[in-house]
Amino acid sequence: MKVKHIMLRELAAIEVDTTIEEFIYIVRKSGLSSLPVVDEGDRILGIISERDVIGAVLPDYHETLQGTPFSPNPDELTRKLAELQQEPVQNYMTSSVTTVQESADDLYAASLMFDQNLKLLPVVNEEGRLAGLVRRIDLLKLLR
């Protein structure tokens, strides 16, 4: 089966100048945990996730969480988030993005996601424009 047969046909994407506030709004409403960042032709420039934003608010959050009981100061968290809100996603996105062609085999997409521990894999068409998304649950559709 090809990727285009299992992907979520969803063109949810944001632009580099989209603010963090807007990004948070969209992920909160849509239920997606990350979004592709595209240029004016829907070609993928990066990807940004909830984790990227949390990491920016609390840079050592993940590391601290590994070793010690951790209770962030809510005031500090709110202040940092407020500072971040009007910044463009460009400042926090991951620019090196793994994508897959819609004509690729689904097993290839699965191996990419597994090997790189990806939750979301953007799919591009022959012109390199966003065509859809593969989530982990989309791979499990194969088992139906």
Partner: protein, 317 residues
């Protein structure tokens, strides 16, 4: 590629009942069959085109639980979505169809969510990107609260700047304002207000007159529905080359909601496959007839459309 725009999508909830009981008789009416589906003109056109094997991307504003239901309904059909989220709740439209009264269902449409400035700004960006990858833009249905009456006009302007062909299927002032730009295809929705460009269109003669007015705006194809109280409204098709009326016969109405949308989709499908206007219109009318005789608003079975063609009557005017 075709982009369809439904500014105010819905979940259409259909209830078929044996009869509509008065409160004096019973306080509860039970449905004998129910059906829920994503709806709205652009969405219905996308769903019908998808059944016919033509890919589209559908856009608009969604919100809340019903917004997720709209997206899910479309994704299940492998239709590409490019919606923008806003606050509130996508509307649910309720249609109650009583046995023997299928021609006159009770239809209650909700208003829809308020589109915020941020959502409108996002939509404009997503639309601008979509224009770089499409050849046709179809705008259809009512506007969600928060959108001004020139919303469609601006979408058509931008599409024309990118040389995309446009279709306008709407009502009221949003139609009147946008049709001035001469969309490639225009079809006023006259279910609520029987007037277009300030002129009444209740009768066949009035529809004939207004259709010709609309041709003067530069539209290549104008479609006017009339005789709306029939089991299936006639469709009058205008081009510079001729005017034709399409009528369906021997109709067994099951669900007439969306019949105009399947007409538009069927016609569009044939036109994009290279058919002439009359062949496309006959196919559109057959799709409309087949959808009227099924519970779903769109027709999954292509054979049903082909068979319905035999009951479509064409008259050159």
């Amino acid at each position: 590629m075709i982009v369809t725009i439904t500014p105010n999508p819905a979940i259409d909830q259909f209830y078929w009942v044996d009869e509509i009981l008065s409160p004096e008789t019973a306080l509860l009416t039970r449905a004998n069959h129910t059906l829920s589906s994503a709806g709205g003109k652009g969405i219905n056109v996308s769903m019908q085109l998808n059944y016919l094997g033509m890919e589209t991307t559908t856009m608009g504003f969604i919100a809340g639980y019903m917004g997720h239901a709209v997206e899910h309904s479309l994704h299940e059909r492998n239709i590409t979505t490019n919606f923008v989220w806003t606050d509130g709740e996508t509307r649910a439209n309720v249609i109650v169809i009583a046995d023997g009264k299928e021609v006159s269902p009770i239809e209650v449409n909700a208003t829809g969510p308020q589109v915020s400035d941020m959502a409108l700004h996002r939509f404009q960006k997503r639309y601008q990107n979509a224009l770089l990858r499409c050849d046709y833009v179809m705008c259809g249905g009512s506007l969600a609260p928060g959108l001004d009456i020139d919303f469609y006009k601006r979408l058509l302007e931008k599409a024309h700047q990118k040389d995309a062909k446009t279709m306008l299927y709407a009502s009221g002032d949003e139609f009147n304002h946008a049709c001035e730009l001469g969309p490639w295809m225009s079809k006023p929705d006259v279910r609520e207000r029987s007037e277009v460009l300030g002129k009444p269109i209740g009768t066949k003669d009035q529809a004939y007159e207004v259709g010709q007015e609309l041709l003067k705006t530069g539209s290549e194809i104008v479609i006017m529905a009339h005789s709306l109280t029939q089991p299936l409204a006639d469709q009058m098709v205008f081009t510079k080359e001729g005017i034709w009326n399409y009528k369906a016969n021997e109709i067994e109405t099951v669900n007439r909601v969306g019949a105009g949308d399947t007409f538009t989709a069927g016609m569009l499908f044939k036109l994009l496959k290279g058919s002439d206007v009359t062949t496309a219109s006959r196919f559109g009318m057959a799709a409309s007839l087949a959808s009227t005789e099924a519970k779903q608003t769109t027709v999954a079975n292509r054979n049903a459309i082909e068979q319905a063609l035999q009951r479509v009557e064409e008259e050159a005017l």
